[in-house]
């Protein structure tokens, strides 16, 4: 394909073409879109991944094609924001051709959207995805009859195996050129002729309703035509009138009370599904076989009694892999950082660099940034495990499994998905809360999601638990995750009980078939996260490390190697009284925690700079750090308080910005920040005081 496209790229542009991709959630739309554009969009096997439209571009047969990926949707009503955004966009003049991505393995449900799209009147090309699953189940689709019944080209593709891509885009271009398709060959099984006048729709439209509805459509159409002759699609608008669509009523007001007193939406949906049943009967051969594997696996994973224990076990395995395999790989990165530091330092010495420059490079940049890079393997493992969970289809099962517990908090099980994603990174987790319909639910989830321990907090746990808890390091680190979940759930419960907040929204989520996670999808997911992490190391953490080095090596009296006289110490000592009651009365720790608001990893990189440890995650680095901390009187209980405080206080600057953006409220973001700081302080206070009594 690359060669062909290249050849065509040289030709003169025939014009511009905008192709919109739309389809049900989980139909493989984003994978298909990525296959064309090479864009690394996130794909997940749960609904609501594409939360806003994303654009890409390509050139084909002399056309400059703009590709637009629209949010996954089951229908095109104007009830939800996503659906009306998609609908308005398709109806606008911006879109030339619509590619409707259909999951062939659940044709019956997917075709509903297809019929709605066809009614919009824009050229539609159906991309029949996941044909391999259909074949695996011993079914076949009649590829002659299906396009005939729909009146639109149907192209079998495999987004994952990148098959049929060229034909699909060819069909889209061709279909745009031929705007008036051939008459349809289609008739209803039980044609009724009760109508007062003759219908000739059978040669024009795929979806023909009962005579009763068709009569009404004709009457409204006439009325709309005389009042708004220039509107684009009179039949579609008439249908929307019958459905009682408020958007259309407002835009093109006419009185139809004499034609139809009530909304006929219910009947229209029913008739569409009747027609879909006809299509499936005629086009799908051998649909008796069941997806046995998913049913079998679900028997255990969603079992009444086993569901929650299995979920906890899976999460335990995820974190076990993160800590053990991650640590094993970290060893190699440490060696590399050590070599880098030694050679850089000798290089700078031989170049005759001054003491301050050597200190900045080695103690500031390499200690800070390099120290954080050594945690990359742990973070890689965590995201790999999360990617496998997401792509396999397990994520939406968690919503079902957790529905009971979430119900007690006045939330549906679906609200648990953003919380679970919070284990990876808080920012996308906050965005995922958009899938919740109720605004108050969304606000509540946005308040508690930051308590779920994200990957950026991992370095803090790994470092301090290994420093102070020896053989129990993994338990100490794992307990942070449990505390995070407990605080999040406790907070949500508290708000539920005291404000009686809690929507009537019951759980409603599609459970996709289990599938082997796709290598490409998992790779894109993990690579995006690793790239983000490296970028953060190169930007935020780099700047923070340099900044830390400056405020720790410069004081009111200029450059000084005594940190106790530095600006950092002055600031830290000023605030330190606030931290004494929670076991963190050390100015160095206070400075590290403040710096950590930029990004949580900065707490660790700052410690590296503060204590002058060049390779903080290595055995030598740790022992040097342990000696220095012990000299200050910082023991295991203080370490635990630090971990709890780090777990619960503001995750990072990006989170604050995201909360503000998602809630459209600076006040809400400020409230969240304040609440997190307060919660962190109170929890650390409890841990410190209870711990002091025990020890």
């Amino acid at each position: 394909m690359a060669k062909m496209t290249e050849a065509k790229n040289r030709s003169v542009s025939k014009g511009k073409l905008t192709v919109a991709f739309i389809g049900n959630p989980n139909c493989g739309k984003t994978t298909l879109f990525n296959a064309y554009t090479g864009a690394n969009l996130k794909v997940a096997n749960w609904p609501g991944v594409t939360v806003e439209k994303v654009e890409g571009s390509m050139r084909f047969q002399g056309y400059d094609i703009k590709l637009v990926d629209l949010p996954g949707t089951y229908s095109l009503t104007s009830y939800t924001m996503e659906e009306s955004v998609s609908r308005d966009f398709i109806l606008s003049d911006d879109v030339d051709v619509v590619i409707d991505v259909v999951d062939a393995s659940s044709l019956e449900r997917n075709l509903y959207l297809t019929l709605q799209l066809l009614e919009l009147g824009k050229p539609v090309v159906v991309a029949l995805n996941m044909m391999d699953i259909v074949e695996k189940r011993g079914m076949e689709i009649d590829l002659h009859r299906l396009p005939e019944m729909l009146g639109a080209p149907v192209i079998p593709v495999s987004a994952r195996k990148r098959k049929g891509l060229e034909v699909l885009i060819h069909a889209a271009v061709h279909h745009n050129e031929q705007r008036h398709p051939d008459p349809l060959i289609h008739e209803h099984r039980e044609a009724e002729s009760e109508s007062r006048h003759r219908h000739d729709h059978h040669s024009e439209f795929a979806m023909v309703y009962s005579d009763d509805i068709e009569d009404k459509i004709d009457l409204i159409k006439e009325r709309l035509k005389s009042r708004f002759p220039d509107m684009p699609n009179h039949r579609w608008a008439s249908l929307k009138y019958l459905e009682g669509d408020n958007d259309i009523k407002k835009k093109y007001p006419i009185d139809i009370a004499d034609i139809v007193p009530d909304s006929l939406e219910d009947k229209i949906i029913n008739e569409k599904f009747d027609f879909i049943e006809e299509i499936v009967d005629e086009c799908l051969v051998g649909r008796e076989q069941k997806a046995a594997v998913t049913d079998k696996v679900d028997r255990y994973l969603t079992n009444k009694y086993l569901g929650i224990p299995v979920f906890l076990l899976i999460m335990a395995v995820v974190f076990f892999l993160t800590f053990t395999v991650g640590d094993f790989l970290s060893g190699y990165v440490e060696v590399f950082i050590d070599i880098l530091n030694t050679s850089l330092s000798s290089l700078l010495v031989s170049a005759g660099a001054g003491e301050a420059v050597i200190s900045l490079v080695c103690d500031g940049i390499v200690s800070g940034v390099g120290g954080i890079i050594t945690f990359l393997p742990n973070i890689f493992m965590l995201f790999l495990a999360l990617a496998l969970l997401e792509d396999s289809g397990y994520m939406s099962r968690v919503a079902y499994v957790m529905d009971g517990i979430m119900g007690k908090l006045g939330l549906s099980g679906r609200a648990f998905i953003p919380m679970l994603l919070g284990f990876g990174c808080t920012v996308p987790a906050l965005m995922a809360s958009r899938a919740l319909e109720d605004k108050r639910d969304r606000m509540r989830i946005m308040l508690v999601t930051p308590f779920m321990s994200c990957s950026a907090r991992l370095p803090i746990y790994i470092l301090f638990s290994e420093l102070f808890f020896g053989d129990y390091a993994m338990i100490a680190a794992y307990s942070m995750y449990v505390i995070g979940i407990a605080v999040a759930i406790g907070t949500a419960w508290f708000i539920h009980v005291f404000t009686k907040a809690g929507s009537e929204n019951s759980l409603l989520i599609e459970l996709p078939e289990y599938k082997m996670p796709g290598a490409r999808t998992v790779f894109i997911y993990v690579w995006e996260k690793v790239k983000d992490f490296l970028q953060k190391a190169g930007t935020t953490i780099f700047v923070a490390s340099v900044f830390m080095w400056f405020i720790l090596n410069f004081g009111p009296s200029g450059y000084s190697s005594d940190m106790g006289q530095s600006f950092g110490a002055v600031i830290g000592k000023y605030i330190v009284p606030l931290f004494v009651p929670i076991g963190l009365g050390f100015w160095q720790i206070v400075v590290a925690l403040i710096a950590g608001i930029s990004a949580k990893e900065v707490v660790v990189s700052s410690c590296a700079v503060l204590f002058g440890v060049s390779n903080i995650n290595s055995a030598a680095g740790m022992s040097s750090m342990l000696t220095q901390l012990s000299d200050l009187g910082f023991g295991p209980l203080n370490a635990l308080c630090l971990m709890v405080f780090s777990l619960l206080y503001v995750p990072c600057a990006a989170t604050i910005i995201t909360i503000k953006k998602e809630s459209h409220s600076t006040a809400h973001a400020a409230k969240c920040v304040l609440f997190q700081l307060l919660t962190a302080w109170v929890m650390a206070f409890i841990v410190y005081n209870v711990g002091s009594l025990i020890i």
Partner: protein, 75 residues
């Protein structure tokens, strides 16, 4: 009977949805229209269920399942 009384492994035919209009329509566009057969895959004691409609699995909360009137389909 109501859908939440359904036993896992059995099929039921939808008779009536007594839910707020928006929710009814949302379920209908997913294929849960009157006369559709619903296969119960899983039912937790309080009515949170996994069902299969028109070849797709959905998890539904109790608030939904206890408001769907169904009749048993004799196989």
């Amino acid at each position: 009977m109501k859908l939440n009384e359904g036993i896992s492994g059995c099929s039921y035919r939808v008779k009536k949805l007594s839910l707020p209009l928006r929710l009814t329509l949302r379920l209908e566009v997913l294929g849960m229209t009157g006369g559709t057969d619903v296969l119960v895959m899983n039912n937790k004691s309080h009515g949170t269920m996994i069902i299969k409609i028109r070849g797709t699995r959905f998890a539904l909360g109790k608030g939904i399942t206890e408001n769907i009137e169904v009749e048993e389909v004799k196989s």
